[in-house]
Structure formats: structure tokens, C-alpha cells
Amino acid sequence: MNMLTRGLATGMMALFAASGAMAEAADDNLVINGEIEIVTRTEAPAHLSDTMDEIMSGWLFRGEETRAMEADDFDNPGMIFVEQGEEAWNTAEGSEGKSCADCHGASSEMAGVRPVYPKYVEAAGEVRTLEMQVNDCRENRMGAEKWDYTGGEMVNMVALLSSVSRGLPVNVAIDGPAQSTWEKGKEIYYTRFGQLELSCANCHEDNYGNMIRADHLSQGQINGFPTYRLKNNKLNAVQSRFKGCVRDTRAETFKPGSPEFVALELYVGSRGNGLSVEGPSVRN
């Protein structure tokens, strides 16, 4: 046996002997308000077939109480921010004196938008996130100031847009004009950044289900964003989470809204194709 296999073999034995350090994903079903059925585990999309069989929502890796909070809108602290988003939706702003509702109708009309973002937007000639679309409308159609990419107003609006799509399957396109951005995102996903030299895949593909210190590693899916985190008692934008994870590898992060994070969001989003939109979700 060479050093490598010897290390691996002892590693395997030790892992099996370990107790508590490996915790299974929950065997549980999520139905929100007793009516919205959420797919929290399903067959992996074709582009991941060499890597994994099943994709799972981060919901399955959280404790029982945290999971229960998401099953009822009265218990989900994220829903307060959806209400604030709804208020903003109906408020006229900017030089044009228009609200989102003036052009788009009721917020529920936006059902089906969240699941396909990020996507290549023909008119813009680039891949865009939901945040970029919202700011484009504010700046160019309302004559209003752009919102901070991961700021409170933006996160509330994205929470509203997610909530009206809850239960619909994530369906991010990876081919055609989106493909080159997707490839770029994939490369970032597998790059071992920072002084700890860790890639997203090291933690969320190779080790989901395992404990890293006190944290139960999930697949790092983004179908639940924005997430209300019990740790910081607020709604968190997806790219704030990316930033935190990159920072934790002792790396220089990318900025929310940067081309790198947009590409990464497209790629990570596509790894969740088939899971239900769940945002705003509850996490710890």
C-alpha cells in the first residue's frame, strides 16, 4: 500500500468508528402552511450525474426546530420581510412616479420568475441575477436610486419574489448564451481558494452530511434564499453567503454583484435544478 491508500484506509476505518461526527440528513418532508409542497430531495440534474445521485435542500441538514419554523409562515421570521417587500412593491418611487405594481401588476404575477434566475437576458446581452433586474427597473424604468446589492430593501424584494414562487422547481438554463458564464461559475466552484486552499466542492460536494466543527455541512444549495439565519437574526442574500464562505477559507473574497459571483450563482443555482424554490427559508 502506498502512503495515499494507507492514509485513506485508516481514514475510512476511523470515520466509521467515529460517533456523532457524521450526522445524516433528516428524513422529513416540508409542506408549508399545510399546502405548498416543497421538493427537498430529488434526482441530481444531468450535468451532475458523474458527481452525485441526489440533490438535497439545506433544510434537511438543519435541526428539527429550525425545520419546523419554515413549515408555517407565522413561525418563519423571514415572512415579516416579505411583507416589507410587498409594501415596497406597491410604493411609487423615482422621477417616473411609478411603483413595481404599476407595470408588473400584483406581486403574485411574478410567480415563475425566481426559478429561472440567474439567466441570460437577451435585451441586456448578459447573464443577470434577480437583483440586477430589480436595480435595472429602478434605475432605468422608475428613475429611482439603485438599491445596495445585498442591502435590506433588496433582500426584502428578493424575498417577496421568491415567496410567490415557492414550490416551483428551480430551472436555471445552463446552455445556449448562458453556457460560457456557467463554465466560469463551475471553475470557481472547484477552485481551492485562500490560505486554507478549500473549494466549494471540498465542503459541499465531498463532505455534505459531515460535521465541520459545530456545523452540519449541507450541499450548499441556494433554492432557499434569501435565508433567515438564527445566527444573525436577519435575512441573508445569497451572495452574502458566498462571501462568507470564501472569507472562511482565509481568501480575498469577490464582491456581491461581481461577474465572478454572478457566474457562481448561475452555476450553484443549476446544481439545484429540480428542488423547489423555498425562500425565504430558515437556517441556523
Partner: protein
Amino acid sequence: MKISVMALVASVGMAASAVAAEIAPTAVTYTDGAVEQSLTGVAGNPEEGAKIIGSKKLGNCVACHQVTALADVPWQGGIGPVLDGAGDRWSEAELRGIVANAKMMFEGTMMPAFYKDTGFIRPGKAFTGEAADDTLGPLLSAQQVEDVVAYLATLKD
């Protein structure tokens, strides 16, 4: 936090000035993943080593490994093998190589290199998310590596 960072800087500084013969991260010689020569020439202190392994601010080895002998350290992870018996499985030179740069022993391993200060992609300034500056040093000082190795060598079945 500030205090422990300063303590860390101080201890790195002391180790460097006390021992002229310290081997720099880029000068370490690996043979089949093992490092024969002590990085400092000063015997490691296993008690210090145990602290480094359990401390979030230092080695934080228990983020990924369990060590039964350190059961009082809470939240031990399950990414890497349990380290019980590591002193039986590996020689001191092999342990030194694994701690200094485990990628020399286990190709492509997830385990970070603790005695390496170059060759990173977008290295940061600790956990700030900002770019590293020229104060970037290895995760552990040469003497801290020796301390950790001395502790691992005591882990016999």
C-alpha cells in the same frame, strides 16, 4: 481576539529569534511526504501541541478531526480520520510532513498546509475577506508545528 492574535505574533517572533537554525516554509525538504529534520532543532512541547490542536484560533484541527484524548474540546468534526493512534500509524518524520503540508503525503487532500506561505490563490488577510499583505505567514510557526507533532506522537493505541 486582539490579545490572542498578538500573543500569536509574539510567540512566532520569539521562536524565530531564539533559534537561528529555523527552516523557512519554502526550504522544507519532503521525502515521500515526510520531513526528517526538525524545523527548529528544539524539541516540541506536547502540552502546547494539544492546545494548538483544540484551539479555533490556532490549528483548529478538531474542526475536521476527532481526538478522544481531547474529549473536553467541544464540537469535534468528522471530515478527516480520528487521530487516535496516529503516533502508532506514523513516524515522527511522517507526522511532521503531514502537519507541515499534508498535500505532500495525501495528494489533493482537503487538509490545509500549516507550514506554507506561498502558492495560494487569492490569499486573504486572515478571516477579514481582504487581500493578504506581506505579513502573510504560515498558519502555524515552526515551533508550533513541532509542538503539534510532539503531541500527535503521544497518541498511541
